[in-house]
Symmetry: C2
Subunit: 193 residues, 2 copies
């Protein structure tokens, strides 16, 4: 990662997901890595930070999450829209070169099992909290965020800085059919009104 890859205080980690971005989910196990796109990820708690993510049984990534007990959630950027869509429509099960052909460059941080995707705006390293009923009945995974980082050009002082950051670093919010929206303009209200 480059010099803009900076640690985020865990108490502020929920803010990386609070505005509802589409995310990338990474997992790795015994030398196999995969990354998928997911629109259904959400903050669940502040401290310690937890999150939920829906991982369909058909996804290869889910198998790696279950085998390793770890996943990484990442906030991709507007510049990565094509990459995100490819990761959401191709499967490592049928396309062994999925990551390379999708344009993904991964990198390991410390000894964590999940790889991180270069070029994202934020990364949350998570340990799965085993909840077999949720996983089976709803494809719903709960995880605790153990470490978080962000690109300090677009997230600093505990806040997204979209007003100042390059447009290319804006988060993506998927609808369907290759149709995303980037996050837009700030709307600030008086906090005591």
């Amino acid at each position: 990662m480059n010099a803009h890859f900076q640690r985020v205080d865990l108490k502020k980690a929920y803010r990386l997901l609070n505005h509802g971005p589409t995310v990338l989910v990474s997992a790795g196990h015994e030398g196999v890595d995969d990354v998928m796109a997911a629109a259904w990820a959400c903050a669940l708690d502040f401290d310690p930070p937890k999150l939920t993510v829906v991982l369909d049984k058909s996804t290869f990534t889910r198998g790696l999450v279950e085998a390793s007990g770890w996943l990484a959630i990442q906030v991709p950027t507007a510049a990565q829209a094509q990459l995100v869509h490819r990761l959401g429509t191709r499967s490592l099960g049928s396309e062994p070169d999925k990551l390379a052909s999708s344009g993904v460059v991964i990198e390991r941080v410390d000894a964590y099992a999940p790889p991180l995707v270069q070029g994202c705006a934020a990364w949350l390293m998570c340990r799965v909290i085993a909840e077999p009923h949720n996983q089976q009945a709803y494809d719903l995974f709960i995880a605790e965020v153990v470490e978080a980082w962000a690109d300090d050009r677009v997230f600093s002082d505990g806040h997204w800085q979209y007003e100042r950051a390059p447009e290319s670093l804006r988060s993506l919010h998927y609808v369907a059919g290759g149709h995303f929206y980037a996050i837009g303009e700030a709307v600030v209200v008086p906090v005591d009104a």
Copy 2:
């Protein structure tokens, strides 16, 4: 509701939440209605559509959800930012006139227990699926969407129409401290690339 309040095909209802907006949660029971703001709501399944929402034990709304078994999730607009922030920071428990003083106008649709908030861009009427462990351990509620509507100026043909709709109808995406972002510009990628 006005003439723009139109039913959404349940198969497309997930798209109302897919881009991660901050929502309003309504509930009603035995003549008492409440509405709260929530950033932590997320689609969970397509068909039948389901969603998750985090309701802290301190919220008055949660009690009404538990008592009635119903909730409504609504997508408020940029024009409602101040109202959303008030609903997220005031409690009916300590402020009996919370709804009126926050500027909320509610309306009932058919015989559903939860009231709907006028002026939102979308409304999802939901029956809670009882999952006591999730509710107690994580404040996490799972619900099935039984009927959905949207303002047809901003959601039609199964898609958000932010490119064409008035800016005032854009969704809100909360960060913290009265700081929201409105949803922004479309980013469209070729679906077969």
